[in-house]
Structure formats: structure tokens, C-alpha cells
């Protein structure tokens, strides 16, 4: 067993921290955080700066524009950038979900077409999975694709989509064989988000984050955009899940939450209050555990081992902690914690209010807590066998 990072990995972490601490980077972060409500927080400039350093896809092979490093180096970069307040969902969707899926499941042609442009920061991508009537029960989805000479024509509605309004491409799962068993009739396609028939409509969430409802009306997709084979969609999505679901993005946000709650404790001079000390020590302990569950997944990946049960445990633990931590922040902060960052004189930057609106989404997005329990119980423990 080895719980340490190599000296090179430690140096990388310091390098990322030094970059994030630069005055111009800090100014960029402040500027994005202070944008008015309902204004996009994504900073293309910062995204490019990370790309220029090879930090968007450090773990991909160099032939696809990656850094040729392992999942551990990528994890270090993501952990630091997210904790520092870099908007995480564009990276998570583009690189971690879309990109990793293409790397793992795509054809050679698809890899060469998309991955270098993702790694360079030129292209943002997303996924088109969830539908209004197919959330946790994704396999019941109804969007259809029917063949038309060498192309496919897609019709359907996708929802709770993240960054669809910024992305150029999306990985869609649609039903190609309505007569097959539910999980055998699904197929993956890469959809051009600017193709005729794609309409992106905003929905605003409790967290002030924009998601989208996307309607696909007779959207023509070339056959070459199919990922894997027809009918393979469900299996492939689940294969990719074990790579993308590390819990790292969520848990890095929780590390940020903890930093901010400690900021409130200091500002209100409550460091000697035993209730506060007990609860924050408890959350800190759980954050350490959550990080270990994350790094178990990531380090296993670096050694070529995928375990979707470990992934579920990691996602579950970190996101449940997120909610407890923001409730604690609201309790400790009292009335002033209600003030948002748009108030003239908020408490500790107004982050308690923001985090408290963000955390409920974390136990829903990317697989609900209930689905994690289900996976651990039925696929891991095999309670029914």
C-alpha cells in the first residue's frame, strides 16, 4: 500500500497552486464569481489558460493531445482547480464525461477528431442522456433514432443538460430498436449541437446554474458519429461510468465548502465554541474519508482497475457530506449566512448562501444517492443473490 504522491506529483500540485494563486488568475476568478445572477460563470479565458498548460486532459495519451500522464496527475489538477473556485462543470462534462467516453469507447477516427480539440480548450462538449420521463430510470428513455441511408434521424427531448448552451457537441443516448429489451435497444451518437433541429432552452436551478432542456427534432446525424455498435448504448454508458464517476469533482467542491465554513468560524470568532469545534471536526474527518474514497478510485484507474462499486461509494460519501456541511455553515453563520455574494456586506464572501443552494443538486446530479445505494447493495453486495 502506498498513500503518497510521488515527488513529481507533489511538484505538480504546487505548480497548479502557484498558478491559481497568481494575481491575474485570482482576478479572473473574482470577476466570474461576481457576475450578476443568471449570467454565465464560465471563463473561456481561464479554460484556455489551463489548456495551454496541458491541464485539461493531462491523463490522455499524447497522440490525442493529452499530457500522457495518469489519472492521478489529472486528479491532482482537478482537485486543486475546483477547490480554488474554477467552474467545474465545463471540465467535468467535456473532458471527464464526453472526452473519456470517446477515448474509451470511440473509434480511432472519433478520437482523433474530438480529443485534441478538447484538450486544447477549443471545444466544449456535453451529454444528452436524461429525459423528462427518464431520470434515475434512464434505461426507459424514449428519444428515437431511425436510419436514413447512411445517416440517422433523431427525435426526442433531453433535459437537465449541463453546458449544452456552450458546447459544440453532445454524446446522446437514444433508442434505435424499440422492439428489443429496454437495455438492448439503445445506441450512442455524437450530435452536433448546432445542427438543424437542435433547440437549447434554459432552465435555472436552485444553485443559479443554468441547465438546458434540449429538443431534438429530425436532427440528422451521420452514421460515422455512432459510438460503438447499435444496441450497445446501455452497456457502453455503464462502462464509461466507472471511469467518469470518481467523486473527485464533487469532493473537491466539498473541500472548498469546508475552507469557507472555517472562514466563517474565524470571522465570527467561534473557534473556541465546543459545538462548532465538534461539528467541524466531524466534517473534516468525513472529508478526509471522502478524499480517500475518491483517491481509491483514481489510483485504481491509474493501475488499470475499474470498480463501479468503489465509484458509487465515493460519489455517495462526498455528496452527502456536502449537504451536511452547508447546513452546518448556515447554522454557524446565523442570519448573516443568509446574505448572498451580491449583498453589499455579506459574511465570508457570501459563500454559505451559495453553497447551501448548490449542495442539494450534488446528491441528485450524476446519479442520485438512492441510485448509489442501489448499486452498492445490488451490484456490490448482491443482496438479492
Amino acid at each position: 500500500m502506498d498513500f503518497g504522491f510521488t515527488p513529481e506529483q507533489e511538484a505538480l500540485r504546487q505548480e497548479v497552486r502557484a498558478f491559481l494563486g497568481r494575481d491575474d488568475v485570482q482576478a479572473l476568478l473574482r470577476e466570474t464569481h461576481q457576475r450578476p445572477m443568471r449570467e454565465e460563470m464560465f471563463s473561456r479565458e481561464l479554460h484556455r489558460m489551463l489548456a495551454d498548460r496541458g491541464w485539461l486532459a493531462a491523463h490522455w495519451p499524447t497522440e490525442y493531445g493529452g499530457g500522457g500522464k495518469t489519472a492521478i496527475e489529472m486528479g491532482i489538477i482537478a482537485e486543486e482547480t475546483i477547490r480554488a473556485g474554477v467552474q467545474h462543470s465545463p471540465w467535468a462534462l467535456t473532458v471527464n464525461i464526453f472526452g473519456n467516453a470517446v477515448l474509451l469507447l470511440g473509434s480511432e477516427e472519433q478520437r482523433r477528431k474530438y480529443l485534441p480539440r478538447i484538450a486544447s480548450g477549443e471545444m466544449l462538449c456535453n451529454v444528452l442522456y436524461t429525459e423528462p420521463d427518464a431520470g434515475s430510470d434512464l434505461v426507459s428513455l424514449r428519444a428515437r433514432a431511425v436510419p436514413d441511408s447512411d445517416d440517422w434521424i433523431i427525435n426526442g427531448t433531453k433535459t437537465f443538460n449541463t453546458i449544452g448552451h456552450l458546447a459544440s457537441h453532445g454524446l446522446a443516448v437514444v433508442r434505435t430498436d424499440p422492439d428489443a429489451a429496454k437495455h438492448k435497444g439503445l445506441t450512442l451518437f455524437i450530435v452536433d449541437m448546432h445542427a438543424p433541429g437542435v433547440t437549447v432552452r434554459p432552465m435555472w436551478m436552485l444553485s443559479d446554474e443554468r441547465v438546458n432542456e434540449i429538443s431534438l427534432e429530425d436532427v440528422r446525424v451521420p452514421g460515422a458519429n455512432m459510438v460503438g455498435a447499435p444496441g450497445e448504448g446501455w452497456r457502453l454508458i455503464n462502462t464509461a461510468l466507472a471511469v467518469e464517476r470518481t467523486g473527485l469533482d464533487f469532493t473537491s467542491l466539498v473541500a472548498r465548502y469546508l475552507d469557507d465554513v472555517i472562514g466563517v468560524i474565524r470571522e465570527k470568532q467561534l473557534g473556541g465554541d465546543r459545538f462548532v469545534r465538534q461539528r467541524i471536526a466531524e466534517c473534516y474527518t468525513d472529508l478526509e474519508v471522502a478524499r480517500l474514497l475518491v483517491w481509491r478510485v483514481v489510483s485504481n484507474q491509474a493501475h488499470g482497475k475499474l470498480n463501479d462499486i468503489y465509484s458509487a461509494m465515493s460519489k455517495l460519501y462526498g455528496t452527502e457530506l456536502a449537504k451536511r456541511l452547508t447546513r452546518l455553515g448556515m447554522e454557524i453563520g446565523g442570519l448573516e449566512a443568509l446574505l448572498s455574494r451580491w449583498d453589499g456586506n455579506p459574511l465570508a464572501g457570501g459563500w454559505m448562501e451559495a453553497h447551501h443552494r448548490q449542495s442539494p443538486g450534488m446528491t441528485i446530479a450524476a446519479g442520485t444517492t438512492e441510485i448509489m445505494f442501489y448499486l452498492i447493495a445490488y451490484r456490490g453486495l448482491r443482496v438479492h443473490k
Binding site: F5, V289, A377, L381, H384
Partner: protein
């Protein structure tokens, strides 16, 4: 970074898990609870398997295994709830003798610890506190050294101990005394506690101790003792975690067999999800255990880390044992079933060497809240 046990570690784990599963079934636990709580036979067999020698240096007949290996032994002990003076003899006294003992003390004592010939009990706690810094038992100047008086509580396995490690306050401060357990002036009385374990109240009435029975310098006991107690907290947490996994496994097996409403318990979501939650928390705590042990093996000081681990596992062990009884239903509440054995042991170990609340205060100290 690689969080998987390597093949040697797996062998160590399997060796000891197999040993305790064979040698310490719950029937033995029940016999021991009726009797004097100590099985010289199992203790001897564990010694033959190098269970005591494992972590000691080679020059004292030890195997010089690392801290992580010791944690694997403790996890295995906990799985079978094996009751023994190992923690006090090897992890606490052995380490303190190694750090503070004169060459004569080391030569005389450590090889005997390694072979299991010597059992040592730690007399630290007093009514109201188990914090070494708050010790009240007095070490006054005596004829040939010191004279001890006061009362110690929760001295585990004092009744089978060859020697006592007594923490007392001398003029210069907290001092460690190492003396034969049958010294005049020492009286033991068994404490009746929830686990039916072997805890003793030790009355010290004018106990004469020679100057060369002091371990380390007079007044110099506090810091090394606290450091060694942190190591002991890691091992205790390992033992508790072994218990968590074992009582979970027991409950899981039962829930897969037991049928109500024509359905196996484990397949009700209300049960399945709780099983999932428990296994997740146990997995996470185990990673924290291994990380902390690894930190010791890297030569890092573990202060708040040990406190954090023990606090986490204390809460977890109580939770898992309580859930185990609930999921077993009425049968789980019965004395003849095993969950209650774990439940009662959890109650003891959760507060032994510091309650979760006490330990979390130390974690908070390390967080920079001011």
C-alpha cells in the same frame, strides 16, 4: 499511490484472520466471559505465530514488521472479538520500554514480551479522567525511590498481568513506573462493566517502587506516553474496525437468509440501503486506518490523525452494532445471538483511550479555527 494491499499484506491478513476464526469462535468468547476472560492457550498459540514478536525489533527477538502489518493483526483480532492483553503489553508497554527503557530493562523485558511470556497491564485511568496530564495518583519520595498511592481504574487484564505500567505524578511531573503486579500494597477489584470484560480497579496503598523501576526520567512520562497512546489508538481503531466488518458480515448473512412477508430481508430497500451505507462507511474508515498506519511507517508523527481515526471508528462501531441488532430483530436482542457481543464490546472500545468527543477536540485544535 496504490491503496490495495500488496500480496504479503494479504497473506498477513489472511493468516491472522484464519487463526482467530479457528481459535476464537464465539463459543470461546462466552466461556471466557463466564471465566476469567483470558485464554492462556490462545495467547500461547498467538505467540507461536509471532503475534507478539511481530512489531518488535529483531535485536529483541522480534520480526520488525511495520505498523501496517500490526494493524492487519488488530483488524483480524477485532473480527473475532479476541480478548487479550496484547494492546497494553505489546503496543503500549513494549513501545514505551523500547523508547524509554534502560538497556537492562530492554534486554530483560522485550524478549519476554516477544515470546508472550510476559503480560503487562496499563494503569492510567482514574475515576473522572483518563488523560495522562490529569493523573492524580501520587509518587512521593520513598525509602529506595518512590512510594505510590492512589486509585487506578479500567486496568484491563490486571489479574493476569506479570507487571504493571503505572502512570503517577511525582514531584517533577508525570512519571511511568514499571513493577511486578504482585508488589505489596497493590489491590485489585474487578469492575462490573457492560462487556463482561476484565477491567480492574487498582488501589495503590503505599506501594514501594525502586528508583530503577522508573521507566525513563522521572517527570518525563507525559510526552512519550501520549505519543504511544496515539499509536495504541490506531490499533484499537483497527480492532474496532475488524469488529465492524464482522458484525456487518454476520448481519448481511442473516438478512440474506431470513424471510418475512415472503421476501428475504436483504432485498427490502429499507434494509439493502442501510447495508450499503454501512459497508461504505466501513470501507472509508478502513482506508483512513491504512493511511494512518502508512503515515506511521513513513516516520510521520500522527497526533490529530490518530484522534480523528479513533473518533470516526468509535461512532461507526456503535452505529453498526446497533443496526446489527435492529436488522436481526428480536433474535438480535437475544443473548444467544452474537450481535450483542459486538454491541457491548463497541460500547467499551468507543470510549477506551478517549471518547469521540474528547478526540474530536484535538482534531479541531489542528484545523486553525482562530
Amino acid at each position: 499511490m496504490d491503496m490495495r494491499l500488496d500480496s504479503e499484506q494479504q497473506m498477513t491478513r489472511d493468516l491472522f484472520a484464519g487463526f482467530f476464526a479457528r481459535e476464537c469462535p464465539s463459543t470461546l468468547l462466552r466461556e471466557l466471559e463466564e471465566g476469567d476472560g483470558h485464554s492462556p492457550e490462545v495467547w500461547g498459540k498467538l505467540a507461536a505465530l509471532d503475534g507478539m514478536a511481530l512489531s518488535l525489533p529483531e535485536e529483541y527477538d522480534g520480526l520488525a514488521a511495520n505498523f501496517t502489518d500490526l494493524a492487519l493483526l488488530y483488524e483480524a483480532m477485532g473480527q473475532s472479538l479476541y480478548p487479550s492483553p496484547h494492546l497494553w503489553t505489546v503496543v503500549v508497554a513494549g513501545e514505551l520500554i523500547l523508547r524509554l527503557g534502560s538497556q537492562g530493562q530492554k534486554d530483560a523485558l522485550l524478549p519476554k514480551i516477544a515470546t508472550g511470556e510476559m503480560i503487562i497491564a496499563l494503569a492510567l485511568a482514574e475515576r473522572g479522567s483518563d488523560d495522562p496530564a490529569a493523573v492524580q495518583a501520587a509518587a512521593m519520595p520513598g525509602a529506595n525511590g518512590f512510594r505510590l498511592s492512589g486509585q487506578k481504574t479500567f486496568v484491563e487484564f490486571a489479574h493476569v498481568a506479570d507487571a504493571l505500567l503505572i502512570v503517577a505524578r511525582a514531584e517533577r511531573g508525570v512519571t511511568l513506573f514499571f513493577l511486578p503486579a504482585d508488589r505489596k500494597g497493590i489491590t485489585l477489584s474487578r469492575q462490573q462493566e457492560i462487556s463482561g470484560g476484565q477491567f480492574y480497579r487498582v488501589d495503590l496503598e503505599g506501594v514501594d517502587v525502586a528508583a530503577d523501576e522508573v521507566l525513563g526520567p522521572p517527570g518525563g512520562g507525559l510526552e512519550p506516553l501520549n505519543e504511544v497512546l496515539d499509536r495504541a489508538r490506531v490499533m484499537l481503531a483497527a480492532r474496532m474496525l475488524g469488529g465492524c466488518q464482522a458484525v456487518f458480515d454476520l448481519t448481511f448473512r442473516y438478512a440474506k437468509e431470513r424471510e418475512q412477508f415472503d421476501q428475504r430481508l436483504a432485498t427490502f430497500q429499507s434494509i439493502a440501503f442501510r447495508l450499503a451505507e454501512m459497508q461504505t462507511r466501513i470501507d472509508g474508515a478502513r482506508l483512513l486506518l491504512y493511511k494512518t498506519a502508512w503515515q506511521v511507517d513513513q516516520g510521520l508523527v500522527i497526533g490529530s490523525e490518530a484522534a480523528m481515526l479513533k473518533a470516526l471508528v468509535s461512532d461507526l462501531y456503535r452505529h453498526v452494532t446497533s443496526e446489527a441488532i435492529q436488522i436481526h430483530g428480536g433474535f438480535g436482542f437475544a443473548e444467544e445471538a452474537d450481535p450483542q457481543l459486538y454491541y457491548r464490546r463497541a460500547a467499551v472500545e468507543a470510549v477506551l483511550l478517549g471518547s469521540a468527543t474528547t478526540l474530536r477536540d484535538r482534531v479541531a485544535d489542528a484545523l486553525g479555527l482562530f
